[in-house]
Point group: C2
Chain length 222, copies 2
């Protein structure tokens, strides 16, 4: 039914959405060049990305902000809210449960699980931490769309098995280990070091450009 959208385009849609969300309420249209500088690709690539999702811009005018925003939300599957269960209430899990950026993007953390008796029963961002033993029973009563794993690496596969076993189709894994899920489910692996590595690349490039410039200046006859 839908034309297949390239993975690289999908990966840029959240950045476009973030930019649209950052615009003031008075702004009615946006140009591909604005979206380009916000997302790190050129304007032609932005127009191609947006054509994949069926957005029609008007030459010289741009894209309607509200229409484009609604279209990206729909394509990302966010036009209806998604419910999330979070497993692991350590530092990272607690940070994720309290993260302000999820709710206003339509992701609602409905329950938090842990196995540590010191954590179970406490509240985090208003949600009571339940023992992981209740997971299957809770999910039988209220299904969820996504399970976030924020456990130690050693526990991640076991937790993934239980989440998919209870019918959750999407897993976001923050534990630093690769996990496997059944073919009908989808898993994404988050690696917090990735962003540091990309930053390091730009630092190196700039350092080398600076060094070249310094050498060039030295070589000038004084």
């Amino acid at each position: 039914m839908t034309r297949r959208i390239p993975r690289a385009t999908v990966a840029r849609l959240p950045a476009y959405l973030r930019y649209l969300d950052s615009l003031g309420p008075g702004r009615q249209t946006v140009q591909s060049s604005d979206l380009a500088s916000a997302s790190g690709v050129n304007a032609a690539k932005v127009r191609k990305d947006l054509s994949y999702i069926g957005a029609a811009g008007v030459r010289g005018v741009g894209y309607d902000v509200e229409e484009l925003r609604a279209l990206i939300l729909r394509k990302l599957g966010l036009s209806t809210d998604l419910t999330v269960v979070l497993v692991g209430a350590g530092n990272l899990g607690s940070a994720l449960a309290r993260y302000k950026g999820f709710d206003n993007r339509g992701f609602h953390i409905v329950s938090v699980y842990d196995i540590d008796p010191k954590r179970v029963g406490k509240r985090i961002a208003g949600i009571e931490i339940r023992h992981l033993d209740h997971l299957e029973e809770d999910l039988r009563q209220t299904a969820a769309d996504i399970g976030i794993i924020a456990t130690p690496a050693s526990e991640a596969q076991g937790v993934a098995d239980r989440l998919t076993g209870a019918g959750i189709p999407g897993i976001l894994n923050f534990a630093p280990t690769v996990i496997n899920v059944p073919a009908w489910a989808t898993v994404r692996q988050v690696d917090l070091a990735t962003e540091l590595q990309i930053l390091a690349f730009y630092l190196r490039t700039r350092r080398e450009a600076g060094a070249t410039q310094a050498r060039t200046q030295k070589r000038r006859p004084g």
Copy 2:
């Protein structure tokens, strides 16, 4: 000096590196198709990415694992280790300080800062949390490459100003707000909701494919 490497290629290098790191020590060569399935692009794109960084594969044999690994590390600026200071020792900051995936990728967190008297003086992952007042003095004695901001959004710009003011060229911002840095510095904004949004896209696509299949089956004469 270096050919300009496209941003999309840079963003995929960490995934290639992660895949190479996951191979056992006996593995000597790797094919572009292996790297493709690990990074979510096709093999032709992998070969193009690797040609940008100057990697030469042999047809039918592939790429030498150790050579490719060293080349990506060098291009990412990771062949020499980078020092990192972390500001904000709340849940997210603590999780980052304890994250196992940084050290073995050449990122060394050398100091952690906070302003909360309940946190200052405690240790986290073996590092004493220092009051932010010491930041400039510490950096005069030992320079750092990267500053990670894990503060509330309201504090992020002020912290970024102090980090760049003390000469740190690279900023990784986890606070959910856009910050500005001087032109000579580089900032990357991490948005933890991005991965959830990408996951949501694939869930929606699969749900729609499933619904189409179900409708098609229903329509079959029974």
